[in-house]
Amino acid sequence: MNLAVSLPRGLELKNPIIAASGTFGFGPEYASLVDMSMLGGISVKGLSPDPWPGNPPPRVWETPMGLLNSIGLQNHGVEVFCQQDLPFLRDIGTRIIANIIGHTVDEYRQVAARLSREPGIDALEVNISCPNIKEGGMSFGQDPDQAAQVMAAVRLETDLPVMVKISPNTTYPVEIAEAVENSGADMISAINTLVGMAIDVKHRRPALGGITGGLSGPALKPIALRIVYEVAQAVKIPIVGMGGISSAVDVVEFLMAGASAVMVGTVTFQYPRRMQEIVAELPEIIKELGFDRLQDVVGSALPGKSNAAHVMEEECQLPRPNGRVL
């Protein structure tokens, strides 16, 4: 089965599995463990105009079926990325998505402009939803007007396909998605981590150096699915879904909820080759579920399209063998 996915502005993925930003470094780190050419794409760790130091350790803490992190978007800046990491990434045979971050609208604009001058970048992912920085970041993702401003500024700088990564840390994620769609986003990626915390009881203090952190992993999956399902009904642009995906069946859930592609993150820490395994398993699972093509799975659980709805319609309209119409 052909797993290829066609996304806006000519972004073609060989399959819908993308390594999620922040979990796959800047590219070379997993090279010896993962066959990157098997992946649909890689979203690199968030890039800012200048290097960001990140948050004090400890930066990770396990929770039941989840992981809290407070990395704080440590990165060596877009310039070092372009010179040091991008040459490697150009040759690995998968789509490169550059995740961009900033404290201000202008910083997002600067990074987008810089990356748009480089060959080898296939798309941008605008991160307006990281819970681990004090200013900018997530606050852009909690206000539709600010989110739209960021997207509009990025749009002026680039013809690359642009997805905006939205936050679960807001009451109405759909409003954010609609706002960025209206200001030129080509896709929505959903969702970023959910802000949370843990207490280190032995030391009587918050477990993370950054006090609060972002929750990822399977614990997040039901929330992510709900948001993808809601956003899919509100916007016309494609969605890249993520949040706790650990298996091929998880991927199918996100596709059925309306995602055209997915990102896989936290599970990679424990099982670096899980993304490859998912790519290998996906065709059979899709086929077993009664689909001939990947794109038919997308949105198949949405209202009006879902199997349950079809069955109900058929039952209501078709006469039963005994002649009675239900």
Partner: protein, 252 residues
Amino acid sequence: MAPIIKRKVPAPDHVELWVHSPALAGATPGQFAHVVTQGMLRRPISFSRLDVDTGNAAILFQVVGTGTRWLANQEVGTVLDILGPLGRGFPVPDAHRPWCLVGGGVGIPPLLAAASQWTGAAQTRPAAILGARSDSLVLLEEEFRQLGHEVWVTTDDGSRGTRGTVIGPLARWLAKNPQGQVYACGPTAMLSAVVAISGQRGDVWLALEQRMGCGVGACLACVVFGNGPEGPGYRRVCTDGPVFSREELIFP
């Protein structure tokens, strides 16, 4: 994939597991195994024994949470999912100059792996300074003695060896061996004290522990503050370390 071939409990809440894995057995002392347990993350555990000839390696760890408790309960025959060897291990000491190993608690095991590989070439008698909270928690003392090391034991409560920390014996050793090379692994407070007492001398190497994510340098979770190529900043324990030189680290 590494099957457990032997299991031992050297101290309360401490377990040593031998696995058969030629790849792991070829590790450099100070490198670590990244072990699947339960939960979301692997557990980074250093090697206590490395035997290239048999293809066997051992990890020795303390039970501190659900992941290590699960691992501690695994029996001979269980196949562990281990990534590794990972990280930067200890540099081999200059055999013509004296060297000493300073271990605190569960920091002792990687020093045994080092001692087993280096002792044969040593031109002077190596020293092992082993510290623990109390008598029952002094790990691997007999192994260091069998290697012919001069062994110093300290405990916090004085229930074994000298009462106090490893810093007392280390100060005496450094005074006698101004050209000595120091290899230390243990709690951060101990490492900080080792750095303080070794002054400006070079050849002080420290193996660090930190809460870790990927283990391969991608997630930037396991950082410590230090001096990197671009000046002061966070350095990754998993790939820049876990072994750092004294000059590479900045202790608070």
